[in-house]
Structures are given as C-alpha cells and as structure tokens.
Amino acid sequence: MTATTFREARADLERHARPVRDKTCTAAEALRLVEDGHHVGIGGTLYSRTPMALVFELLRQPHRGLTLSRPLTCYEAELLLVTGAADRIVTSWMGIGLNWGLSQVLRHYVERGLAVYEEWSHLGIGLRYKAGAMGVPYLPTLTMLGSDLARMDGTRTVECPYTGQRLLAVPALHPDVALIHVHRADVYGNAQVDGYRHMDVDMARAARRVVVSAEEIVDPDVIRASPFSTMLPHFAVDAVVEAPYGCYPHECYGRYEADTEHFDTYVQAIRDHGLDGVRQYIGEHVLGHPDFAGFLGDVGAARLDRQQRRAKELMYE
C-alpha cells in the first residue's frame, strides 16, 4: 500500500529544513525533486486546479516507475501512462469527466496488466492523506466497510476500545512529492487559494516534498493581509513556480473555467487514433514547446480570455 511509514515520513521531515528563504525557481528546476519510482501526489481533483504546468514539465522528464495519486483522476494521468512514466494510479475515480465516457487509456493499460489502478473510495483516499498530514499511521472510519474495495486494498479493521464498534483502519499515505497549484504564493511558499481546497492541504502536509505553482507570486504583505486564506505555510513548501494559467485546460476557481472543447479534441484524437492520438497530443502540446508558456502561446490569448470571462460570470457577487 504505502512505501513510506509515518515514522519514516516524520524522520525525513525532522531532517529537512524549509526555511523562510526565496524558493522561486522554474518548473524544470522544481521537478528535480521527483525521482524514478516516486509516489507523486497531484493536487486538485478531476479538472479543477490541476497543476498542469508541473505535470507538463514532468512529461518532459524521462521518469519510470512513478505512482500517481489523486482524489479524482483526469487525463493528466493518461498522458503519464502513455509516456511510460507512471505505472500505478492510486485514486477513487478515473476518466476525463462524465460527458467523455470511459477512459480508453486506463482500459488499455489496466485491462492488459500494464499498469495498476489501486482504487479507494473518495473519502478513503482523503483519509489516507489526512492520516499522513496528522502524523498518525491510520485513521478509523465507517466508509469502505464490507466492500470489495476494502478487500482489494488489503485494509484491516479495528475495534473501538470504548464502544466495540468495528471500523476500517485507513493507512496513512505519504507521497514522495506533491504537486499543488494555487492562486498566489509569496517567494517563501506561503500559499493561498480562492476556491475549493480539494484534498490539497492534507496531501501537501503528508508529502515528503512539496512543489507549489502559483498564478501569481505576490509580496509577503499580500499574504499577511488575509492570513486565513493561507492554505500552506512556507515550512510545508520546497519550491515555488510562477505559472499563470497553470491549470489550463483545467479550471482555476474564479480565474478561468475548464476548456471542455480542448477535452473534446483530445478525446476525438483517441477515438480516431487510439494511443497514438495521445502521443500526438503530447508531441504537439507538451514536447513541442520548451515550457508551459509555449503551450499557452499556442492556445492563444483570445481563448484564455474567453475562459477567464466564463469564470467571472460564475462569481456570485
């Protein structure tokens, strides 16, 4: 299940300093934290606040044997399966979204035994991160009990010492590296989001190393003016990458809506060309550019503006 125990994760953290120092760097520099065989937690969920600029950078690197975890997994994992970087997905659901049908990439890899999909319930995976974030080796819960998910995942049950209640023990999960996108951060890594937090807080606090990409790098005084919006403190962050539109084509709450037409094109390429459609996508949109800004340049300001406008319309004010 989990490679790093809570004691190892704590020992690692005790040895590791993440001080109040400038941590800004490029995505390529930050991604050096990822090594072959690592468990990489990808923040956000489905097509909301996915750290796409960081994922695209990860695709440029020649990694093997990665495990990916996420609450709900979208096409970013498909890309990492097809390049051969990842061969294990720990999640509760995988597809593009309700309107785009089954993930044919997932089917290809899992049904042939080329990759493993380790399935937990949504809360199950949330409590795995939470146990990790809390610094305990497990948390008790009523969910997943009796299901085949609990059986497949090799979970154990515990009995409450006060009530005798049978509970599922969900084991802590400590990603080696967590990739998180936020609305703003200062150079030290104090990071704020304006919308859903998804499971990012627990994932990052459970992880051994944390890379944050941000729509904007702001002055520390901006952070201090609204300290209750701060999702992660500097001492939970290793690297800060400036990445405007860093979730595109996924959404960033209040900034831009997901570009579902981009998904349509991607899914059509798979329908037409199978895995080669995915390879073409990666070639064109990822490897065809030196960095994420190059991809965004291709997308074009008009389309990004449109997505931004659509987001503004959904703000309740």
């Binding site: 489905l46 909301s48 949330g126 009523l142 997943m144 009990l145 987001a311």
Partner: protein, 253 residues
C-alpha cells in the same frame, strides 16, 4: 412532449426528496433530480455535492458536469473541501444520498469498478468516486439507474459500493451500522428491499409499464411487494422544469 426514459427516472427520483431535507447528490441524474425537487415540492431542500458544496443554487443551462468545478458552487452559502463534506456525511448530517450505478444486484450492491474480475477485467470502469462513501454514510440512500438485464444482476462482479451485502443483517455486521439503502428508481419501476432478507422487490411500476416488462429487464428473480402500485405519469410541468435546468449543458444526460 414525451419524456425520455432518463427523464422518467429523474422525475421519479425527484419526488422522493422531502422539503427541508439535505441531499448528497452525485453529478448527472442525481443532481438533476435534486434540482427539480427544489423547484417543485422541496424549495428548502439543501443540495450537497462532494466537491465541498453546501446548498448549491445552480444556473439553468450551466449545470456542472463534475461536482468539483466552479459551476457547482454558484450561490452556495458554504464551500468546504472534499474530505470535510464526507465527514459531515459520516456524522449523519445528510438525510438522503442519491447515486447512479453501472451494475446493481439483488441486495442493492453497486459495481462501478470491473466488468469481469479484478484479475482479468473485461472492462475497467472508472471506479467508486464518492459512491461508496455516499452509500455507506448517508441516512437513506436512493439508487437511480436504467432498468436493463445487464445492469440488474443477481450478484455484482465486484462490490464497489455496499448495499445490503449478502442480505439479512450482513451490512450491519460488516460495521456499516448506519445508512439504509431503501429504494431503487428506474425508468420502469420503483423497487425496495424485503425487510427480512433485504432482497430487492418490486414496489411500483412506472405509468403504463406491465410487470412482466420489469421482470424481463431484471437479471434475477424479483420479489413482489403487496400491493403493487402504479406511479403517476410525468407531469408536463416537471418536464418543462427539467429541460430548462438541463439546457444545452448536459445534453440528454
């Protein structure tokens, strides 16, 4: 203006939702049914979505496709995170849970993981998402799905989301001491579970649907409730609201 099978089951599900209650809705039909209920008998129904949304108001024609996107949050008085919203469910705050099913068996167990076995899957389905949690943690659970023999099987290939497990008291014995999987809503019928054996039984047929048609669409021996009711047809007003809500965003849902 004839309702589609999807519309029939959406309307039927919506009628189960009482006013003043809190419903934890999955995306798609469950969310549509909940939104419809708010415009009909349950104006004070609170819709909760797994993205962490409490009391979404929704914009007709711009319904969300996922429960974690901006659209799902419109007009909500409270937004929190995913894990937190399921912990509300675990505490018992949510009166109803509604969810769909790729495959359901005679004990109300749901499979959204594998067609075939985990070792040799014929089809790897997307997985639980929040379904396992909704069915394990909400107070009363409604399942909404199309009535087809391939969906209604004697035993699911894999229990993604536990209904009554192997019947009788096996659900409670597993530790799932809360949550009653009470009702299955389809385009052909409404079904409940025998209080002793917890086997699925036919409670009512949709308007104009013969019992034999329900039996034929069910891949196991269906118990019969006495008496058996026939549901009223979809009201044109319900259909108008539903299509207005749906707009162009979710298509035929």
């Amino acid at each position: 203006m004839r309702p589609t099978p999807t519309e029939i089951m959406t309307v039927t599900a919506s009628r189960l939702l009482d006013d003043d209650a809190v419903v934890f809705a999955g995306v798609g039909i469950p969310l549509l049914a909940s939104a419809l209920a708010r415009r009909r008998q349950a104006p004070n129904l609170t819709i909760v979505l797994e993205g962490g949304i409490v009391g979404t108001h929704l914009v007709p024609g711009r319904l969300p496709i996922s429960t974690n996107e901006m659209r799902a949050a419109f007009g909500a008085p409270m937004l929190t995170d995913i894990t937190d919203i399921f912990l509300f469910a675990q505490r018992g705050f949510f009166d109803f849970g509604i969810l769909g099913a790729a495959q359901v068996d005679m004990y109300g167990n749901i499979n959204t993981s594998y067609i075939g076995t985990p070792d040799a899957p014929k089809v790897r389905l997307p997985g639980s998402g929040g379904a396992n949690d909704i069915i394990s943690l909400c107070n009363e659970i409604f399942i909404v799905t199309a009535h087809e023999p391939r969906r209604f099987v004697e035993q699911v290939d894999f229990i993604t989301s536990p209904g009554h497990l192997r019947g009788a008291n096996t659900r409670a014995e597993s530790g799932l001491v809360f949550g009653n999987v009470s009702t299955v809503v389809t385009d052909l019928a409404v079904l409940d579970f025998d209080p002793e054996s917890r086997r699925m039984r036919l409670r009512a047929v949709q308007h104009g649907v013969p019992v034999d048609q329900v039996r034929e669409a069910t891949g196991f021996e269906l118990l019969m409730h006495e008496p058996l009711d026939e549901l009223p047809p979809v009201d044109p007003a319900e259909l108008t609201i539903l299509r207005d809500l749906n707009g162009a965003a979710v298509g035929a849902a």
